[in-house]
Symmetry: D2
Subunit: 333 residues, 4 copies
């Protein structure tokens, strides 16, 4: 059960309300986000919600019998839209392209990408400065120096930044240079990191775990929301299956399911999803018509010499072609 | 290596050719289909193909280093198109809708479906008369009586039939009443059935196994082609994964991969794929833009009372809506 | 619900009984096997079973709320034992080793294996004469000629034969030369083959599908039992997962689960399970202590030159070592 | 390539050595652990290792062509043994039982468990104080208060503690109260946590990821080792598959494979592995004969009322029975 509170609710009325709920043997979790104040109440027995609906300070009450509460569509049927400022929005009719290299490699590369994005009318750039790598001996990203450069060059052109955060201590460090924090697949159930991201007022994109279930992805979002941050996006990026013909198995079934279950925007990453450059276009178009609210795309001026993931990265010409097709499809649907 | 033979090749020249190939330690598999005569030659060592290219009766020679040979695009870059007669074609720009109930239930149901298909301009009806069921106590289909009725009512309206064949003895029995034989997921590696279907001149649609790999699907098609029947379609219908939010995980990655590797048409079955009626439309549209050559759809006048699979079956209104959207998308792409 | 019938039940009493069951809206499936006569009754409503328990010809009545009926332990708590004759038994304290080559290759190979089995006191020899192969161009077995030779040489030494049957027409053809029919993974849900094996009086070992669930394996056994043959064994042989370090993932969890759910013997095939010769011993021992009723092992005089599966085949010395360790473990447990 | 260094190597000789390696285009990673000093050198070209083998300060040089280096058996064929002090050792013939509740619940529960362990001669107690939970609303552990109590009561009886660490900041906080840090499945690729654990001198047990591959588990161990801590244990705890009959699929194939590839001890957790109390004994025994160096077991005085995981927890009587059987098996093998 979710109780939406009036912002003006008095401490006395809040206490009264909490007492009433505890009386019917529900636990009470108070949540305050950028957008609202909620009580998430968890219990088993049925009771007459009218008994609390009339209390002062209660805006609305919703039964939510799903496993997740705040991220569920059961209490919020309108779609969440995330405003990044400067007219850049994600979700609820704002289809968002987020494109850029796998890894930030240096000034020249950032400039080249920014220029291409400006040319294509794309407002969000992706690029990793902290890279999760299976092997400790691989390149692990440019770190904060890379991020500061990345931020400076993007701000100059009104481009927003999405980049991966890997641990709690980075949240504060990276905060001022980032527009969207990305939680990667391997950290999808790093609950301490999710807790930390619940405490800030910056949008977060959460990737589904490497073999994460739909429910687990929603739970991870619930962690952040219940921590106080409801500017969230869910991201499908391919799951691990027995099939060896592609890097991961991009699971587009997740798109309509997530949009049925949650009010949050759903972004698809076909680059990691199928992991094959020559097949990114069909998968990106398929994600678009399946109902995705945006795409996370790896592009590079010369994918052949990229520091990482070159085999799943589009060059600029391929990227423009894809954007053109997406535009046509979005117009007719 | 595939050697395409002239139809006019003399027995002497054929013998000579086979001897040359055996001399370089390749095995020779002679294949005669409805459309051509081939030698599939398998060996390891490199040799100079010019030494046989000049022999009489040799039309063309292709190195095919893929695991599969005849179904590979390495020797046949043009797309295979399958002609069902009466102007009904599948593949190579002929996007085919195959729709109908999971199970054939009786005359009234067939008539209703046929009427709807005619109204919608759809020329191929699906419907099972032999049903593979996990439990021996479930309804297992109307059998030959159902098929004869199905065939009679469809023929009267120029509708072609696709239906599942489950064992060797049914191939002959069903032959005259069927336009496309469907090999189901559970029989995807029933090699004796594949052998038997190689011996007839009727199109075959092969579904990927429940956890079948891309390679295994191609190998299964190779069985039929090498047996003498090259009128083949491949079908993606969802794979088995850990995810429990849907019946199967429709794997649209398979579409561009199969079209890259093979010249055969690729059909997608979103009904079994996601297994949820309310999400069939986005998955069907996604399959279409991903490059599928057709869709296999479960429809029923009243899905709620269907003998089987009602939860993944569209009603007629939903079906017409979907067709309308597919039409729009096909036009702009 | 399973009703065990007296063999002496009169047709009139049987009719009466069926009518009573139909009256409470249960379907009735009459099953006659080598060992008993049963009515398998499927329905939803609860009713008072005493109303039929007193009828003449009823031996016993059991509620079986599991998805499967006849193969469930809910009605038969004693373990099924299968008697192959000549003192060779499988199940219920008779731990059975079934060993031999992947493929029957010729007289010399059979003689060598038989000699080794006699020496080791092993009474059942495995060996394929019909081989399911992914590629149509691979060696597909010696067929009936191989089987006849196999049978003749084994009979002479009192060795029983287990070999794979791949299609309905082979059941009759192979019948007199086989002691245990093996249904392979790819045919685990070949329902027509299961039906055919229900009609004979020869033991059948059913392998779990390549990604078959526990429930599906039990259902497949139910097919054969309900067809009239209750001499059945279940076989775990490794499932398909994302892991690439081994051929399949031998799933020993299946052993205690199957023994909890079913009264049938459970055999484990570590050769296909892990697919690596050097690790067969630990997996075979693990299967033994996990509660398996027997092992299916690939052995060969010279695994390096075997026609197939050499990399997962023990040589005779390794085989003897393994038998010695199994013996020790069986003694102390 | 791994170069073992003499502890007495002079800075000059170390520089010289590094320069030689860089000259042949290998990268150099210097690693100093509790037990040794190494250079891990990664490159592609073959070169004559004799050219550096004679240099002063070089103890030994090993080619290691595996994906992992320091955790590989290619350079260290003897088994790693971990000494926890007070005569408690893990690995290399010291089979270790680690038993206790899923969650630390309070003083009485700790006392009861410790008493049982002392009675059974078990020297390591498990128990979570920080619990990773899918839902943010679930009980998340007693935290540091619980750990201090846990530590105090165990120390008094000479029992060592293994408990899960979830984030970097906890490493220091927990350090003095823990004997073995456990990295849970969800953090198996939390690379920052692995880095942090590389910087301390406390043993670490790393669980395989929820769908982690063998290679990924080894890579995670390589992170910690290359960070400077070689007191490591690997843990198989069940993987995620399509099968729904058990919580996870305990993958015992991992045991012989990990012991082939790595010199580190391999521990098995059958509680999470199969997740069913009634089947823990066969799986624990199977793990033992498959070659595990120890078991991680959930036990509780009254599993029925445990805060978490009661359904996969043994009571004391079942635990003693299991220990007895393990003892018998270890004696005969």
């Amino acid at each position: 059960m979710i109780i939406q509170l009036e912002n003006t609710i008095s401490p006395q009325n809040l206490d009264l309300l909490k007492r009433e709920i505890t009386n019917v043997k529900y636990s009470v979790n108070q949540v305050s986000t950028q957008m609202g104040n909620y009580l998430v109440c968890i219990g088993k027995d049925e009771f007459d919600i009218r008994s609390i609906g009339h209390l002062s300070g209660v805006k609305d009450i919703h039964r939510v019998n799903e496993i997740v509460k705040l991220v569920s569509r059961k209490w919020k049927t309108e779609r969440t839209q995330i405003d990044l400022g400067d007219g850049v929005k994600v979700g609820d009719k704002n289809f968002a392209i987020m494109a850029g290299p796998c890894s930030i490699e240096g000034e020249e590369q950032i400039r080249s990408t920014v220029k291409q994005l400006v040319k294509s009318g794309v407002r969000i750039m992706r690029g990793g400065v902290y890279k999760p790598r299976s092997s400790p001996y691989s390149f692990r990203g440019m770190g904060m120096d890379g991020l500061k450069l990345f931020s400076q060059l993007c701000k100059a052109e009104g481009i927003k930044i999405i980049t991966e955060v890997m641990q709690v201590s980075q949240v504060e460090e990276m905060h001022d240079y980032v527009d969207i924090f990305q939680v990667g697949s391997r950290n999808s159930q790093n609950f301490n990191l999710l807790d930390a991201l619940g405490g800030i007022d910056k949008p977060v994109l959460i990737k589904r775990g490497i073999s994460g279930s739909i429910d687990e992805l929603l739970y991870s979002a619930e962690y952040i929301f219940s921590g106080g941050n409801e500017k969230l996006m869910l991201c499908e990026r391919g799951i691990r299956t027995y099939e060896r013909a592609y890097r991961n198995t991009l699971d587009l079934n997740a798109v309509p399911i997530l949009k049925e279950k949650s009010h949050l925007p759903v972004i698809v990453d076909p680059s990691h999803g199928i992991g094959l450059r020559q097949h990114m276009e069909p998968m990106a178009l398929a994600a678009t018509v399946a109902g995705a609210d945006g795409l996370l795309l790896e592009i590079h001026e010369q994918p052949e010499i990229a520091f990482s993931d070159g085999q799943q990265t589009l060059n600029y010409r391929e990227f423009e072609q894809l954007l053109e097709k997406i535009k046509i499809i979005k117009e007719v649907l």
